[in-house]
C-alpha cells in the first residue's frame, strides 16, 4: 500500500493526514516532499496525523527525523498525532518517542503549538 497525504488548515497549524506505508522509495519521498513544500510556503507549525499509517521502516523513520530537524531549523514545530501501535513501538525502541511531541487527540495537539 503506497502512501497518501492530504493537508488541511487548522488556524496557523497545518495538519497533514498520511495513510499507508512510510517506507524506502515513494513513501519516504512523499513525506519529504510534503514537509519541504509546507516549509517553502512558510508553514512551520506542522502536525502529522499518522492514524492510518500502519507501517514504517528505518527509511521512513529517517525521513521523520529529517523533517523534524528541517522544521526546527526554521524555528517551527513538527508534532505527531494518533500513532498506531506499530509506529509507536518503533519510536519507543529507537528512543525517538522522547524526541517528538506525540498526541492522542487533535484539539490538545493543536493547542500545544501556541502554549
Amino acid at each position: 500500500m503506497s502512501l497518501h497525504a492530504t493537508h488541511r488548515d487548522a488556524g496557523d497549524v497545518m495538519v497533514v493526514d498520511f495513510s499507508g506505508r512510510i517506507t524506502l522509495g515513494e513513501g519516504s519521498a512523499l513525506m519529504r516532499k510534503t514537509i519541504r513544500g509546507l516549509l517553502e510556503d512558510q508553514r512551520t507549525k506542522i502536525l502529522l496525523n499518522l492514524a492510518d499509517v500502519d507501517y514504517i521502516d528505518s527509511s521512513g523513520i529517517g525521513e521523520l527525523v529529517s523533517g523534524f530537524t528541517a522544521v526546527k531549523n526554521r524555528s517551527g514545530d513538527l508534532k505527531l498525532l494518533h500513532l498506531t501501535k506499530k509506529v509507536r513501538d518503533l519510536l519507543q525502541i529507537t528512543k525517538l518517542f522522547t524526541v517528538f511531541d506525540v498526541y492522542t487527540d487533535e484539539p490538545t495537539a493543536l493547542r500545544s503549538f501556541n502554549s
Binding site: 525521513e63 529529517s66 506499530k86 529507537t94
Partner: protein, 161 residues
C-alpha cells in the same frame, strides 16, 4: 545442510522494488511455517532492513550489482541470509543509534532493528567479498497461539519514555 531443511534462494536486482519483493517472499515463508502475526511483522521488517542495507550501503545503489537472498527453514528455526556485493563491514563499526549524539541521525537504524526483532543476528564476510547478514527466528512451538510473537526482543519496551 540437514536433510529436513527447506532452502529457497533468489537473486535480486539492486533496486528499491527488491526490498518489497524480498519482504513479501519471506512473509509467505514465515506464514507457511506457522509464525504468528507479530513475528511475521518482525521477520518482514528485518528482511526489509537487510535488503535496504545491501541496496544502499553494500551495493551503493549500483544497478550492476546483485543482492542474494536465501531462506533456510530447519526443524526449529527460519534462517535468512542477505548477501551484497559491496566491501563488507564490521558490526563493531556501526554507530549506536540510541546514543544521544545519534538520536537525530537520519540513518543507521536498520542493523539495530534487525537485532531487536530477530533471535540471532550476525554479519559475516560473504563469498562475494561483501557483507552477509545472517539472522534467524525460532519456529513457534507446536500448538502455541500464533497471534503473539515468540522469542526475540519485544517491540514494546517495559516502560514508556
Amino acid at each position: 545442510m540437514a536433510p529436513d531443511t527447506k532452502h529457497l534462494e533468489v537473486t535480486l536486482e539492486t533496486q528499491v522494488e527488491s526490498v518489497n519483493l524480498a519482504e513479501e517472499m519471506c512473509l509467505r515463508v514465515a506464514e507457511a511455517a506457522g509464525f504468528g502475526e507479530d513475528d511475521c511483522y518482525r521477520i518482514g521488517m528485518s528482511v526489509r532492513e537487510g535488503v535496504i542495507n545491501a541496496f544502499h550501503y553494500g551495493n551503493q545503489e549500483r544497478p550492476e550489482k546483485k543482492i542474494y537472498l536465501a531462506v533456510d527453514l530447519t526443524s526449529d528455526k527460519m534462517i535468512i541470509h542477505v548477501l551484497d556485493e559491496g566491501t563488507g563491514f564490521k558490526l563493531s563499526d556501526v554507530p549506536d543509534p540510541l546514543a544521544e549524539e545519534n538520536l537525530l541521525s537520519t540513518s543507521g537504524r536498520g542493523i539495530f532493528l534487525m537485532r531487536a526483532f530477530m533471535d540471532e543476528f550476525d554479519v559475516l564476510s560473504g563469498r562475494t567479498g561483501g557483507a552477509e547478514i545472517v539472522m534467524s527466528k525460532k519456529l513457534p512451538a507446536p500448538g502455541s497461539t500464533p497471534a503473539n510473537g515468540q522469542g526475540g526482543q519485544s517491540a514494546t519496551p517495559q516502560q514508556e519514555a
